[in-house]
């Protein structure tokens, strides 16, 4: 096995023969500059999903395997960052500041279609798109993020249909709408948030949201309360830091209760029924249970708990379908691997690196390493982090936290507020630029 990348006779043959007899259909809106090497006969990788995982993977594939054609299929015309989106609820950011176009990927030769997959045939290696095209692939990367599963809580799905109940767990219009509900709420009202059982996207996110809503209340509606109802027995992430924030920055505003299974939601009365009674809200925010995005099920990639996609961590290749890779929040993650944007960006690089190797007939890296950093804003300027490094262990066939790497901030601080902003700008550029 060689990790060196050079052109050799085998690669020359591959570049010429390509993996696919059929070149990808050009998609509407494709801005990609086609390269000399990535011609009609080049291997073709299709990436479905343009979030932190998919966009990063498409970009790095073109950097590391310039002889490969890469097509990114994303239904939205712009990327909206979930990280920092709780600041929209707190009032210190607007959604436009979290929104970016996909144009930067064209500079890397990524072909992009604003489209969505409607059928995937992993035997024939084809992806059918809503606009009618069919793409053939040599390798498929599925990066669908999460789908919410409101049908798992009685009353939740019907409440979400007409927009009375918002989850705002995918940054975008719901984030803005939830902010408007908070603005319309009278002082003295109660914001009730329910957190589903882990694993869900962004473990510290709900507690950061509680901080942001409390920060807004403290400044503008000081008689109002935040009630956090958590299906988990205790705070899942950065417990000491969030508790310190609630006690010292917004004293008396946030009440936290663990072990609160949500039995039913009544959207009309804005009521959450729990094992021990009912809580009524002025603004009710239920973060629904989650599973891999629908594309994963469409391709038959869900292998765990009817929710997540099992993969080989050396390449993120699905254990259910050959030549299909899954990255980002949709995977069945090893213990202590959070569903985060930073992790998704890291999955994408391991996956792109492995695909570049596999297309050249080489083995993927035998021991990939993925780092994580998650910042949470506790006010408009102060932030805290959790970080860790995860390394593949062949014997256990899983990713393990490297000893000494897991840790959180020692205290609430302004310095990391600045770092959190810088982190966002850099990872957006690394993902999309």
């Amino acid at each position: 096995m060689s990790n060196a990348r050079t052109i050799d006779p085998a690669r020359r043959r591959l570049l010429i023969a390509g993996g696919s007899a059929v070149a990808a259909t050009m998609l509407p809106g494709c801005g990609g500059r086609s390269s000399v090497l990535a011609g009609r006969n080049a291997p073709h990788v299709v990436v479905i999903g343009g979030g932190f995982a998919g966009a990063t993977c498409a970009k790095y594939l073109r950097m590391w395997s310039p002889g490969t054609r890469v097509t990114l299929v994303e239904r939205e015309t712009a990327f909206v960052s979930c990280p920092l989106s709780n600041l929209v609820l707190g009032g210190s950011r607007d959604i436009a500041s979290l929104t970016q176009r996909y144009d930067g990927l064209a500079r890397h030769g990524v072909q992009r279609g604003t489209d969505s997959a409607t059928a995937i045939d992993t035997a024939a290696r084809t992806v059918r798109l809503a606009r009618g095209d069919t793409l053939r692939y040599d390798r498929l990367v599925v990066a669908p993020g999460i789908d919410v599963a409101p049908e798992e809580v009685p009353g939740l799905a019907t409440g979400m249909v007409d927009g009375r109940l918002l989850h705002a767990w995918k940054a975008g219009p719901q984030t803005v709408a939830l902010r408007l509900q908070l603005e319309a709420m009278p002082d003295g009202g109660v914001f009730v948030m329910h957190i589903p059982r882990a694993p869900y996207r962004c473990p510290p996110g709900p507690y950061e949201r509680a901080c942001q809503v409390a920060w807004y209340f403290r400044q503008h509606k000081p008689r109002s309360k935040v009630l956090v109802l958590d299906a988990n027995d205790d705070i899942v992430s950065k417990k000491g830091l969030f508790t310190a924030a609630w006690n010292t920055l917004t004293p008396g505003i946030v009440e936290y209760r663990g072990g609160q299974e949500l039995l039913e939601v009544d959207a009309g009365r804005r009521a959450a029924r729990l094992a021990f009674g009912e809580e009524r809200a002025d603004v009710l925010n239920v973060i629904p249970p989650q599973r891999a995005g629908a594309v994963a099920a469409m391709a038959g990639l869900i292998t765990a708990n009817n929710r997540w996609c099992g993969i080989d961590y050396r390449s993120f290749e699905s254990i259910a379908a050959p030549s299909v890779h899954v990255i980002g929040d949709a995977i069945l993650a090893a213990p202590q691997m959070p569903k985060s944007g930073h992790m998704a960006n890291g999955h994408a690089k391991v996956c792109a690196h492995a695909i570049a190797a596999l297309l050249e007939g080489r083995e993927p890296d035998a021991e990939p390493v993925i780092g994580n950093t998650c910042y949470s804003f506790v006010t408009d300027t102060q932030a805290v982090h959790v970080a860790s490094v995860h390394r593949y262990n062949a014997e256990k066939n899983t990713m393990l936290v490297v000893e000494g790497t897991f840790g959180v901030s020692p205290a609430l601080n302004d310095l990391e507020g600045a770092y959190a902003e810088a982190w966002a700008r850099n990872i957006w550029a690394d993902t999309l630029g």
Binding site: S2, A4, M63, L358, A387, R391, V402, A422, R425
Partner: protein, 149 residues
């Protein structure tokens, strides 16, 4: 599962490839800072006996002997992890230090200090502990070989 990864059979074909040297094409096509690492930069640093992992540095001897550039692609993947905060290729957009084109010895010394808890750090002491000294040296070499932004 400790056996090697199942690598699909190579497809073969005939035909002529453009005669432009590959590495040049890579640079031209991607429009990016592609590391053309000098062989000297890949000479392995001293082994760290306490290292968690020290896979041999993969080099293609054919590449070295015929003068074409080889890449330490494993270290390139590790270095790509740094890019989430420090920018693609170490070309930070601000806030975090740019790493591209920095002296390898300086970068390694700083990371070793952070790893030991002897330098100011908010998160770098945690990230640096994810790698052995030898691995950090290879990551530093990747950034040192890139052009300054």
């Amino acid at each position: 599962m400790t056996s090697g990864y199942k690598v699909p059979a190579m497809k073969t074909g005939q035909g002529a490839l453009a005669t432009v040297p590959f590495v040049i094409l890579v640079a031209a096509v991607s429009g990016l800072a592609v590391v053309l690492t000098a062989p000297a930069a890949l000479a392995g640093p001293a082994r760290d006996p306490g290292a968690a992992s020290d896979a041999p540095i993969a080099m293609d001897s054919r590449a070295a002997s015929d003068g074409r550039a080889a890449l330490d692609t494993q270290a390139e993947l590790w270095a790509a992890g740094c890019a989430a905060c420090h920018g693609t290729g170490g070309a930070s957009t601000g806030g975090f230090a740019a790493l591209a084109g920095r002296d390898a010895g300086e970068l390694l010394a700083l990371m070793l200090k952070q790893r030991a808890g002897q330098a100011d750090s908010t998160i770098m002491h945690q990230h640096a502990r994810g790698f052995s000294e030898a691995e950090l040296a290879r990551i530093a070499a990747v950034f040192a070989a890139r052009p300054k932004p």
